[in-house]
Amino acid sequence: MDASASPAPLSVHVRSARVVFDAETLFDDLDFPLEGGRWTCLLGASGVGKSTLLRTIVGLATDGGNSGEIVCSDGLPLAGRAAMMAQRDLLFPWLTAIDNVMLGDRLRGRRGAGRERAMALLAEVGLAGYADALPAALSGGMRQRVALARTLMEDRPVVLMDEPFSGLDAVTRMRLQDMAAAMLAGRTVLLVTHDPLEALRLGHRVFILAGRPARLIEDLRPAGSAPRDVADPDVLRMQGLLLHRLAEAQA
Protein backbone atom coordinates (compact mmCIF):
# COMPACT_ATOMS: atom_id res chain seq x y z
CA MET A 1 0.00 0.00 0.00
CA ASP A 2 1.32 3.41 -0.92
CA ALA A 3 0.06 5.54 1.92
CA SER A 4 1.27 8.79 0.38
CA ALA A 5 -0.41 8.33 -3.05
CA SER A 6 -1.73 11.73 -4.08
CA PRO A 7 -5.17 12.94 -5.17
CA ALA A 8 -5.82 14.61 -8.56
CA PRO A 9 -3.67 17.73 -9.04
CA LEU A 10 -5.25 21.07 -8.28
CA SER A 11 -3.73 24.37 -9.28
CA VAL A 12 -4.25 27.46 -7.19
CA HIS A 13 -3.98 31.07 -8.27
CA VAL A 14 -3.68 34.02 -5.91
CA ARG A 15 -5.16 37.05 -7.68
CA SER A 16 -4.61 40.71 -6.80
CA ALA A 17 -3.82 39.96 -3.19
CA ARG A 18 -3.47 42.89 -0.85
CA VAL A 19 -2.30 42.41 2.70
CA VAL A 20 -1.83 45.18 5.22
CA PHE A 21 -0.10 44.40 8.48
CA ASP A 22 0.56 47.00 11.17
CA ALA A 23 -0.36 49.84 8.80
CA GLU A 24 2.24 48.60 6.35
CA THR A 25 1.25 47.25 2.96
CA LEU A 26 3.08 43.93 2.64
CA PHE A 27 1.79 43.35 -0.87
CA ASP A 28 -0.65 45.00 -3.17
CA ASP A 29 -2.17 43.62 -6.35
CA LEU A 30 0.06 40.55 -6.18
CA ASP A 31 -0.57 37.63 -8.54
CA PHE A 32 0.93 34.32 -7.54
CA PRO A 33 0.42 31.02 -9.35
CA LEU A 34 0.74 27.53 -7.88
CA GLU A 35 0.80 25.02 -10.74
CA GLY A 36 -1.20 21.86 -10.17
CA GLY A 37 0.84 18.86 -9.09
CA ARG A 38 4.06 20.89 -9.06
CA TRP A 39 6.39 22.36 -6.44
CA THR A 40 6.53 26.13 -6.33
CA CYS A 41 9.29 27.57 -4.19
CA LEU A 42 9.20 31.07 -2.79
CA LEU A 43 12.43 32.76 -1.73
CA GLY A 44 12.90 36.10 -0.05
CA ALA A 45 14.43 37.96 2.83
CA SER A 46 13.06 37.55 6.37
CA GLY A 47 10.08 39.79 6.96
CA VAL A 48 9.29 40.36 3.29
CA GLY A 49 5.94 38.61 3.69
CA LYS A 50 6.59 35.04 2.47
CA SER A 51 4.95 33.46 5.48
CA THR A 52 2.12 35.97 5.37
CA LEU A 53 1.45 35.05 1.75
CA LEU A 54 1.35 31.38 2.73
CA ARG A 55 -0.97 32.14 5.64
CA THR A 56 -3.17 34.18 3.33
CA ILE A 57 -3.52 31.24 0.99
CA VAL A 58 -4.40 28.80 3.77
CA GLY A 59 -6.85 31.34 5.19
CA LEU A 60 -5.10 32.12 8.48
CA ALA A 61 -4.23 35.78 7.85
CA THR A 62 -7.76 37.09 8.17
CA ASP A 63 -7.39 40.38 10.01
CA GLY A 64 -8.79 43.51 8.34
CA GLY A 65 -7.24 45.37 5.42
CA ASN A 66 -6.72 42.27 3.30
CA SER A 67 -8.31 41.55 -0.04
CA GLY A 68 -7.82 39.43 -3.12
CA GLU A 69 -8.98 36.00 -4.10
CA ILE A 70 -7.69 32.48 -4.10
CA VAL A 71 -8.89 30.73 -7.25
CA CYS A 72 -8.64 26.97 -7.64
CA SER A 73 -8.59 25.26 -11.03
CA ASP A 74 -11.85 23.43 -10.29
CA GLY A 75 -13.65 26.62 -9.28
CA LEU A 76 -14.29 25.43 -5.72
CA PRO A 77 -12.90 27.15 -2.61
CA LEU A 78 -9.55 26.02 -1.24
CA ALA A 79 -10.84 25.76 2.33
CA GLY A 80 -10.31 22.29 3.70
CA ARG A 81 -8.09 21.24 0.83
CA ALA A 82 -4.71 22.57 1.97
CA ALA A 83 -2.43 21.04 4.59
CA MET A 84 0.22 23.09 6.36
CA MET A 85 3.68 22.21 7.58
CA ALA A 86 5.58 24.82 9.56
CA GLN A 87 9.18 25.49 10.50
CA ARG A 88 8.59 24.12 13.96
CA ASP A 89 7.21 20.59 14.01
CA LEU A 90 4.27 21.69 16.24
CA LEU A 91 3.87 18.16 17.55
CA PHE A 92 1.61 17.96 20.59
CA PRO A 93 3.92 16.89 23.43
CA TRP A 94 1.16 14.94 25.18
CA LEU A 95 0.42 12.74 22.15
CA THR A 96 2.54 9.83 20.91
CA ALA A 97 4.04 9.95 17.40
CA ILE A 98 1.19 7.91 15.94
CA ASP A 99 -1.45 10.01 17.67
CA ASN A 100 0.25 13.14 16.37
CA VAL A 101 0.07 11.73 12.84
CA MET A 102 -3.65 11.10 13.37
CA LEU A 103 -4.24 14.55 14.90
CA GLY A 104 -6.55 15.71 12.09
CA ASP A 105 -8.94 12.79 12.65
CA ARG A 106 -8.91 13.45 16.39
CA LEU A 107 -9.79 17.11 15.83
CA ARG A 108 -12.58 16.19 13.44
CA GLY A 109 -14.01 13.72 15.91
CA ARG A 110 -13.07 10.52 14.05
CA ARG A 111 -10.44 9.30 16.44
CA GLY A 112 -8.45 6.22 15.41
CA ALA A 113 -10.19 5.87 12.04
CA GLY A 114 -7.04 5.86 9.91
CA ARG A 115 -4.66 4.02 12.19
CA GLU A 116 -3.41 1.64 9.48
CA ARG A 117 -2.65 4.44 7.07
CA ALA A 118 -0.94 6.42 9.83
CA MET A 119 1.25 3.42 10.64
CA ALA A 120 2.10 3.05 6.94
CA LEU A 121 3.04 6.72 6.73
CA LEU A 122 5.21 6.47 9.83
CA ALA A 123 6.91 3.48 8.21
CA GLU A 124 7.42 5.51 5.02
CA VAL A 125 9.22 8.23 6.96
CA GLY A 126 11.28 5.52 8.63
CA LEU A 127 9.74 5.75 12.10
CA ALA A 128 7.74 2.52 12.26
CA GLY A 129 9.43 1.63 15.55
CA TYR A 130 8.59 4.95 17.20
CA ALA A 131 4.81 4.95 16.93
CA ASP A 132 4.31 5.05 20.70
CA ALA A 133 7.16 7.44 21.49
CA LEU A 134 6.38 10.89 22.88
CA PRO A 135 7.85 13.79 20.84
CA ALA A 136 10.24 14.66 23.67
CA ALA A 137 11.99 11.34 23.06
CA LEU A 138 12.62 12.10 19.35
CA SER A 139 15.38 14.11 17.70
CA GLY A 140 14.65 17.26 15.70
CA GLY A 141 14.88 15.40 12.39
CA MET A 142 12.62 12.60 13.60
CA ARG A 143 10.07 15.08 14.91
CA GLN A 144 9.99 16.86 11.56
CA ARG A 145 9.47 13.48 9.87
CA VAL A 146 6.49 12.84 12.13
CA ALA A 147 5.23 16.28 11.09
CA LEU A 148 5.67 15.29 7.44
CA ALA A 149 3.68 12.10 8.04
CA ARG A 150 0.99 14.16 9.80
CA THR A 151 0.85 16.52 6.81
CA LEU A 152 0.45 13.60 4.40
CA MET A 153 -2.13 11.97 6.64
CA GLU A 154 -4.38 14.92 5.86
CA ASP A 155 -4.26 13.78 2.22
CA ARG A 156 -4.94 17.24 0.81
CA PRO A 157 -4.19 18.11 -2.81
CA VAL A 158 -2.39 21.28 -1.76
CA VAL A 159 0.46 21.33 0.74
CA LEU A 160 1.86 24.61 2.07
CA MET A 161 5.24 24.42 3.77
CA ASP A 162 6.86 27.28 5.67
CA GLU A 163 10.60 26.64 5.98
CA PRO A 164 9.95 23.12 7.21
CA PHE A 165 13.58 22.01 7.08
CA SER A 166 15.41 25.15 8.14
CA GLY A 167 15.98 24.07 11.72
CA LEU A 168 17.83 20.89 10.77
CA ASP A 169 21.48 20.11 10.15
CA ALA A 170 22.64 19.98 6.51
CA VAL A 171 22.60 16.21 6.02
CA THR A 172 19.30 15.65 7.82
CA ARG A 173 17.83 18.50 5.80
CA MET A 174 18.94 16.93 2.51
CA ARG A 175 17.47 13.54 3.47
CA LEU A 176 14.18 15.15 4.48
CA GLN A 177 14.07 17.11 1.22
CA ASP A 178 14.48 13.84 -0.72
CA MET A 179 11.80 12.18 1.38
CA ALA A 180 9.38 15.08 0.97
CA ALA A 181 10.02 15.26 -2.80
CA ALA A 182 9.18 11.56 -3.16
CA MET A 183 6.19 11.51 -0.85
CA LEU A 184 4.60 14.76 -2.01
CA ALA A 185 5.07 14.03 -5.73
CA GLY A 186 1.88 14.82 -7.63
CA ARG A 187 0.59 17.32 -5.08
CA THR A 188 0.53 21.07 -5.49
CA VAL A 189 3.20 22.28 -3.11
CA LEU A 190 4.22 25.75 -2.00
CA LEU A 191 7.56 25.72 -0.23
CA VAL A 192 8.54 28.95 1.47
CA THR A 193 12.27 28.93 2.17
CA HIS A 194 15.25 31.20 2.56
CA ASP A 195 17.65 28.63 1.12
CA PRO A 196 18.17 29.00 -2.67
CA LEU A 197 19.73 25.55 -2.90
CA GLU A 198 16.69 23.97 -1.28
CA ALA A 199 14.40 25.82 -3.68
CA LEU A 200 16.45 24.67 -6.68
CA ARG A 201 16.61 21.06 -5.52
CA LEU A 202 12.87 20.77 -5.06
CA GLY A 203 11.09 23.43 -7.15
CA HIS A 204 9.55 23.16 -10.60
CA ARG A 205 9.32 26.89 -10.38
CA VAL A 206 11.26 29.23 -8.11
CA PHE A 207 10.16 32.78 -7.30
CA ILE A 208 11.82 35.54 -5.34
CA LEU A 209 9.57 37.87 -3.38
CA ALA A 210 11.13 41.26 -2.64
CA GLY A 211 10.40 44.92 -1.96
CA ARG A 212 7.63 46.71 -0.11
CA PRO A 213 4.95 46.27 -1.24
CA ALA A 214 6.47 42.95 -2.29
CA ARG A 215 6.56 41.77 -5.90
CA LEU A 216 7.84 38.63 -7.57
CA ILE A 217 11.18 39.67 -9.03
CA GLU A 218 12.48 36.34 -10.28
CA ASP A 219 10.84 33.35 -11.94
CA LEU A 220 13.10 30.35 -12.64
CA ARG A 221 12.19 26.94 -13.98
CA PRO A 222 15.04 24.56 -13.16
CA ALA A 223 15.36 21.66 -15.63
CA GLY A 224 15.20 17.99 -14.72
CA SER A 225 13.20 16.28 -12.02
CA ALA A 226 13.33 16.90 -8.28
CA PRO A 227 15.14 16.22 -6.05
CA ARG A 228 18.06 17.55 -8.05
CA ASP A 229 21.66 16.77 -7.19
CA VAL A 230 23.30 19.44 -5.03
CA ALA A 231 26.42 19.15 -7.21
CA ASP A 232 24.54 19.63 -10.51
CA PRO A 233 26.32 22.51 -12.36
CA ASP A 234 22.99 24.00 -13.48
CA VAL A 235 21.70 23.99 -9.91
CA LEU A 236 24.89 25.61 -8.64
CA ARG A 237 24.87 28.25 -11.40
CA MET A 238 21.28 29.17 -10.62
CA GLN A 239 22.03 29.18 -6.90
CA GLY A 240 24.66 31.85 -7.58
CA LEU A 241 22.19 33.83 -9.65
CA LEU A 242 19.49 33.62 -6.97
CA LEU A 243 21.90 34.63 -4.20
CA HIS A 244 22.92 37.70 -6.22
CA ARG A 245 19.32 38.63 -6.87
CA LEU A 246 18.46 38.22 -3.18
CA ALA A 247 21.42 40.35 -2.17
CA GLU A 248 20.49 43.08 -4.66
CA ALA A 249 16.92 43.07 -3.41
CA GLN A 250 18.05 43.61 0.15
CA ALA A 251 20.61 46.29 -0.69
Binding site: R55, W94, L103
Partner: protein, 251 residues
Protein backbone atom coordinates in the same frame (compact mmCIF):
# COMPACT_ATOMS: atom_id res chain seq x y z
CA UNK B 1 19.94 10.12 50.24
CA UNK B 2 17.08 11.65 48.29
CA UNK B 3 14.18 9.64 49.79
CA UNK B 4 15.63 10.27 53.25
CA UNK B 5 15.77 14.03 52.79
CA UNK B 6 12.29 14.83 54.20
CA UNK B 7 13.06 12.71 57.26
CA UNK B 8 16.36 14.50 57.80
CA UNK B 9 14.62 17.86 57.51
CA UNK B 10 11.98 16.68 59.99
CA UNK B 11 14.64 15.50 62.44
CA UNK B 12 16.43 18.83 62.05
CA UNK B 13 13.24 20.79 62.82
CA UNK B 14 12.52 18.68 65.90
CA UNK B 15 16.11 19.14 67.09
CA UNK B 16 15.76 22.91 66.59
CA UNK B 17 12.51 22.85 68.55
CA UNK B 18 14.20 20.96 71.41
CA UNK B 19 17.07 23.44 71.28
CA UNK B 20 14.71 26.40 71.63
CA UNK B 21 12.98 24.72 74.59
CA UNK B 22 16.29 24.08 76.32
CA UNK B 23 17.85 27.45 75.46
CA UNK B 24 14.89 29.62 76.49
CA UNK B 25 13.79 27.47 79.40
CA UNK B 26 10.19 28.04 78.29
CA UNK B 27 7.66 26.51 80.68
CA UNK B 28 5.72 23.48 79.30
CA UNK B 29 2.43 25.44 79.25
CA UNK B 30 4.01 27.89 76.78
CA UNK B 31 6.16 25.63 74.64
CA UNK B 32 6.19 21.91 75.45
CA UNK B 33 9.22 19.84 74.44
CA UNK B 34 8.91 17.43 71.48
CA UNK B 35 8.92 14.44 73.83
CA UNK B 36 6.01 15.86 75.84
CA UNK B 37 4.00 16.42 72.68
CA UNK B 38 4.78 12.88 71.52
CA UNK B 39 3.55 11.56 74.87
CA UNK B 40 0.37 13.62 74.57
CA UNK B 41 -0.14 12.28 71.04
CA UNK B 42 0.25 8.66 72.21
CA UNK B 43 -2.14 9.09 75.14
CA UNK B 44 -4.78 10.83 73.01
CA UNK B 45 -4.34 8.93 69.74
CA UNK B 46 -8.01 7.96 69.35
CA UNK B 47 -9.25 11.48 70.04
CA UNK B 48 -6.72 13.05 67.67
CA UNK B 49 -7.40 10.59 64.86
CA UNK B 50 -11.15 11.03 65.20
CA UNK B 51 -10.88 14.81 64.88
CA UNK B 52 -8.25 14.47 62.16
CA UNK B 53 -10.75 12.35 60.21
CA UNK B 54 -13.29 15.17 60.36
CA UNK B 55 -10.77 17.79 59.24
CA UNK B 56 -9.43 15.53 56.50
CA UNK B 57 -12.94 14.96 55.15
CA UNK B 58 -13.53 18.71 55.09
CA UNK B 59 -10.25 19.30 53.28
CA UNK B 60 -10.76 16.55 50.71
CA UNK B 61 -14.39 17.46 49.98
CA UNK B 62 -13.47 21.14 49.80
CA UNK B 63 -10.61 20.31 47.44
CA UNK B 64 -12.91 18.32 45.17
CA UNK B 65 -15.64 20.95 45.13
CA UNK B 66 -13.29 23.93 44.85
CA UNK B 67 -11.26 22.34 42.07
CA UNK B 68 -14.38 21.19 40.28
CA UNK B 69 -15.98 24.64 40.36
CA UNK B 70 -12.67 26.25 39.46
CA UNK B 71 -12.10 24.02 36.44
CA UNK B 72 -15.69 24.52 35.32
CA UNK B 73 -15.51 28.32 35.69
CA UNK B 74 -12.23 28.47 33.75
CA UNK B 75 -13.69 26.37 30.93
CA UNK B 76 -16.82 28.48 30.75
CA UNK B 77 -14.75 31.67 30.62
CA UNK B 78 -12.51 30.20 27.93
CA UNK B 79 -15.38 29.04 25.76
CA UNK B 80 -17.89 31.88 26.06
CA UNK B 81 -16.55 35.36 25.54
CA UNK B 82 -19.39 37.15 27.44
CA UNK B 83 -18.81 34.83 30.37
CA UNK B 84 -15.20 35.96 30.52
CA UNK B 85 -16.10 39.63 30.31
CA UNK B 86 -18.68 39.41 33.11
CA UNK B 87 -17.24 36.70 35.30
CA UNK B 88 -13.64 37.85 35.49
CA UNK B 89 -14.38 41.15 37.30
CA UNK B 90 -16.69 39.29 39.67
CA UNK B 91 -13.91 36.85 40.44
CA UNK B 92 -11.39 39.59 41.06
CA UNK B 93 -13.79 41.55 43.30
CA UNK B 94 -14.67 38.39 45.21
CA UNK B 95 -10.99 37.99 45.99
CA UNK B 96 -10.91 41.47 47.52
CA UNK B 97 -13.19 40.19 50.30
CA UNK B 98 -10.99 38.33 52.79
CA UNK B 99 -12.33 34.80 52.88
CA UNK B 100 -11.59 34.64 56.61
CA UNK B 101 -14.03 37.44 57.21
CA UNK B 102 -16.70 35.27 55.63
CA UNK B 103 -16.12 32.39 58.02
CA UNK B 104 -18.56 33.62 60.73
CA UNK B 105 -21.22 34.16 58.07
CA UNK B 106 -20.70 30.69 56.64
CA UNK B 107 -21.10 29.21 60.11
CA UNK B 108 -24.23 31.28 60.63
CA UNK B 109 -25.71 30.13 57.32
CA UNK B 110 -24.51 26.56 57.15
CA UNK B 111 -24.28 25.63 60.82
CA UNK B 112 -21.63 24.18 63.07
CA UNK B 113 -21.26 20.99 61.07
CA UNK B 114 -18.93 20.10 58.25
CA UNK B 115 -20.87 22.03 55.59
CA UNK B 116 -19.56 25.46 56.61
CA UNK B 117 -15.95 24.18 56.68
CA UNK B 118 -16.30 22.54 53.28
CA UNK B 119 -17.74 25.79 51.93
CA UNK B 120 -14.83 27.73 53.43
CA UNK B 121 -12.27 25.36 51.87
CA UNK B 122 -14.10 25.43 48.55
CA UNK B 123 -14.06 29.24 48.53
CA UNK B 124 -10.40 29.48 49.39
CA UNK B 125 -9.40 27.00 46.64
CA UNK B 126 -11.72 28.20 43.93
CA UNK B 127 -9.78 31.28 42.91
CA UNK B 128 -6.24 29.87 42.54
CA UNK B 129 -7.56 26.93 40.52
CA UNK B 130 -9.72 29.12 38.28
CA UNK B 131 -7.02 31.72 37.73
CA UNK B 132 -4.27 29.20 36.98
CA UNK B 133 -6.36 27.11 34.59
CA UNK B 134 -7.89 30.10 32.82
CA UNK B 135 -4.43 31.57 32.32
CA UNK B 136 -3.24 28.28 30.86
CA UNK B 137 -6.23 28.09 28.53
CA UNK B 138 -5.48 31.55 27.16
CA UNK B 139 -1.79 30.94 26.55
CA UNK B 140 -2.03 28.17 24.00
CA UNK B 141 0.82 28.08 21.52
CA UNK B 142 -0.50 29.90 18.43
CA UNK B 143 1.22 27.47 16.06
CA UNK B 144 -0.90 24.65 17.46
CA UNK B 145 -4.08 26.69 17.02
CA UNK B 146 -3.15 27.54 13.41
CA UNK B 147 -2.40 23.90 12.68
CA UNK B 148 -5.71 22.81 14.21
CA UNK B 149 -7.51 25.44 12.12
CA UNK B 150 -6.04 24.07 8.89
CA UNK B 151 -7.33 20.69 10.04
CA UNK B 152 -10.86 22.12 10.22
CA UNK B 153 -11.12 21.82 14.00
CA UNK B 154 -14.28 23.35 15.40
CA UNK B 155 -14.20 25.45 18.55
CA UNK B 156 -15.20 22.63 20.85
CA UNK B 157 -12.57 20.25 19.39
CA UNK B 158 -10.01 23.04 19.64
CA UNK B 159 -10.79 23.50 23.34
CA UNK B 160 -10.91 19.81 24.11
CA UNK B 161 -7.93 18.58 22.12
CA UNK B 162 -5.64 21.60 22.01
CA UNK B 163 -6.30 24.22 24.67
CA UNK B 164 -7.25 21.98 27.58
CA UNK B 165 -4.35 19.52 27.29
CA UNK B 166 -1.95 22.40 26.73
CA UNK B 167 -3.28 24.11 29.88
CA UNK B 168 -2.98 21.05 32.14
CA UNK B 169 0.46 22.02 33.49
CA UNK B 170 -0.99 25.41 34.50
CA UNK B 171 -3.96 23.67 36.12
CA UNK B 172 -1.50 21.44 37.98
CA UNK B 173 0.16 24.54 39.44
CA UNK B 174 -3.24 25.79 40.59
CA UNK B 175 -4.03 22.44 42.19
CA UNK B 176 -0.71 22.44 44.03
CA UNK B 177 -1.51 25.86 45.51
CA UNK B 178 -4.98 24.55 46.37
CA UNK B 179 -3.51 21.55 48.19
CA UNK B 180 -1.33 23.89 50.20
CA UNK B 181 -4.10 26.28 51.26
CA UNK B 182 -6.97 23.80 51.70
CA UNK B 183 -6.09 22.92 55.32
CA UNK B 184 -6.12 26.64 56.20
CA UNK B 185 -9.71 26.93 55.02
CA UNK B 186 -10.87 23.93 57.02
CA UNK B 187 -9.12 24.94 60.24
CA UNK B 188 -10.22 28.58 60.10
CA UNK B 189 -13.76 27.34 59.63
CA UNK B 190 -13.39 25.13 62.68
CA UNK B 191 -12.03 27.94 64.81
CA UNK B 192 -15.01 30.14 64.11
CA UNK B 193 -17.50 27.56 65.25
CA UNK B 194 -17.55 23.79 65.22
CA UNK B 195 -18.15 20.67 67.23
CA UNK B 196 -15.40 18.52 65.73
CA UNK B 197 -12.11 18.67 63.85
CA UNK B 198 -8.50 19.43 64.72
CA UNK B 199 -9.18 23.17 64.86
CA UNK B 200 -11.98 22.56 67.32
CA UNK B 201 -9.72 20.28 69.38
CA UNK B 202 -7.00 22.93 69.46
CA UNK B 203 -9.41 25.55 70.82
CA UNK B 204 -10.69 23.08 73.38
CA UNK B 205 -7.20 22.07 74.48
CA UNK B 206 -6.15 25.70 74.64
CA UNK B 207 -9.07 26.51 76.92
CA UNK B 208 -8.07 23.69 79.27
CA UNK B 209 -4.40 24.65 79.22
CA UNK B 210 -3.54 21.32 77.59
CA UNK B 211 -0.85 22.89 75.48
CA UNK B 212 0.77 19.53 74.75
CA UNK B 213 -2.49 18.26 73.22
CA UNK B 214 -2.78 21.47 71.23
CA UNK B 215 0.66 20.91 69.82
CA UNK B 216 -0.15 17.27 69.10
CA UNK B 217 -3.19 18.42 67.12
CA UNK B 218 -1.05 20.95 65.28
CA UNK B 219 1.54 18.31 64.44
CA UNK B 220 -1.21 16.01 63.14
CA UNK B 221 -2.58 18.81 60.98
CA UNK B 222 0.87 19.61 59.62
CA UNK B 223 1.55 15.96 58.81
CA UNK B 224 -1.80 15.69 57.04
CA UNK B 225 -1.19 18.84 55.01
CA UNK B 226 2.29 17.71 53.95
CA UNK B 227 1.12 14.23 52.98
CA UNK B 228 -1.83 15.66 51.06
CA UNK B 229 0.46 18.00 49.14
CA UNK B 230 3.00 15.26 48.42
CA UNK B 231 0.28 12.90 47.16
CA UNK B 232 -1.23 15.53 44.87
CA UNK B 233 2.18 16.59 43.59
CA UNK B 234 3.10 12.96 42.91
CA UNK B 235 -0.22 12.30 41.17
CA UNK B 236 0.13 15.39 38.98
CA UNK B 237 3.64 14.42 37.93
CA UNK B 238 2.46 10.96 36.99
CA UNK B 239 -0.52 12.36 35.10
CA UNK B 240 1.58 14.76 33.02
CA UNK B 241 4.70 12.79 32.07
CA UNK B 242 5.17 14.89 28.92
CA UNK B 243 5.61 18.14 30.80
CA UNK B 244 9.26 19.11 30.57
CA UNK B 245 10.86 19.90 33.90
CA UNK B 246 13.93 22.02 34.13
CA UNK B 247 15.43 23.44 37.26
CA UNK B 248 16.80 26.99 37.13
CA UNK B 249 19.53 25.80 39.52
CA UNK B 250 20.93 23.63 36.73
CA UNK B 251 21.40 26.51 34.29
Amino acid sequence: MKPLRPLIVLAGLIALWQLVVVATGAPPFMLPAPAAVARAWLSHTDLLLRHAGTTLSEIVLGMLLGSGFGIFAALVMAYFRPARQWLLPVLVISQAIPVFALAPLLVLWLGYGMASKIAMTTLIIFFPVTAAFHDGLRRTETGWLDLARTMDARRWAMLRHVRVPAALPALASGLRVAAAVAPIGAVVGEWVGSSAGLGHLMLLANGRMQVDVMFAALATLAAMAVILFALIDFGLRRALPWQPETAPSND
